[in-house]
Point group: C2
Chain length 210, copies 2
Amino acid sequence: MVETPRRREIEDVASVLFREHGYSGTSVRDIARALDIRGASLYAHVASKQDVLWSIIDRMASRFEIAAADALAAASTPGAGPGERLMALVRAHVGVVADDVGRATVFVHEWRSVTGERHDQIVERRDRYEERFRAVIAEGVATGTFAPIDPEVAAAFTLTALNGIVAWYQPAGRIGPTDLADLYADLALHAVLATDGRREVPAGWREVPA
Amino acid sequence: MVETPRRREIEDVASVLFREHGYSGTSVRDIARALDIRGASLYAHVASKQDVLWSIIDRMASRFEIAAADALAAASTPGAGPGERLMALVRAHVGVVADDVGRATVFVHEWRSVTGERHDQIVERRDRYEERFRAVIAEGVATGTFAPIDPEVAAAFTLTALNGIVAWYQPAGRIGPTDLADLYADLALHAVLATDGRREVPAGWREVPA
């Protein structure tokens, strides 16, 4: 797919419509109407609605992948451990979401709408991406930095919380993207961090009266 | 709306279709076809597709509300604090999701598709529900049981992780509903729990070499 200004504009408009009405609830005619052109003219730039969706999903997936790879590389210096790596992964993910909440929303809600071989490809890329989180958490469990939790469950807990940002975050609100990344890194780290007596939780956990 | 076996069957079938294809991507004809009846016959039982959606959303919202109210009541005995209350809310929410992942998926993905006054009603009920989490977290911050975190952000983090269960959980898989509730309660509690030096996180947090 060749990136042209017109093509980019089509994706921008489609992202807004997919976010608002869902992929199923948006037609090529809706996209054309929002651009104030005829459907036939739109097909000069895109092969299908599925083609536009794929561009959006593929581009967002690449952004998540690059951000995670960069974050892990930066947090793999001597002295940095799984805690730093988990926080780096969380900050990277939050950064991508907060930078373009519209497209991130389409990514989170509509990646399942990608069809055919591309669907298999995106499932595989998603698994590889989640595996980075699972591996860092498993490493932290193995070294005792993290509590002896289930890495698969903890990774799912963490990643769904990160993707859930699209459900509530207002970039123009009181919390800026960097603060959001710090707050989420703090919550995600402590969710898994080893603390004294963590083994008793949750079965026998009771608060110590002040 | 009168609950009849036929009506319940329609909602069951619609839940499956809404989950698979989305509300926008499902027609009344699709629902009728799945029931092997004609569209006209379906209208003897339901007023519209919106009416079926509302039944599903309203029923699930009530289940979440009742479960949360019961959980808070049970965790408000003398000696129980915000930690117990947060864990009770988390377990209650996980219980409702895990008990009917199909309808929970429709609830999480499609509550925004409810229209008119009912949309306002569901937004208000959702806000009241989230407020229970925010209040318990704010209480824990005030008493020092929890770290001095932002209750709104922590509640959003927690609730989106809980709703994210619909994205990955397989009830017939290796983790049963009760274990899932325990694991999530553990993660959600520690995400907010006060620990020594938590104030330094995330700005200056570094792992202590073993």
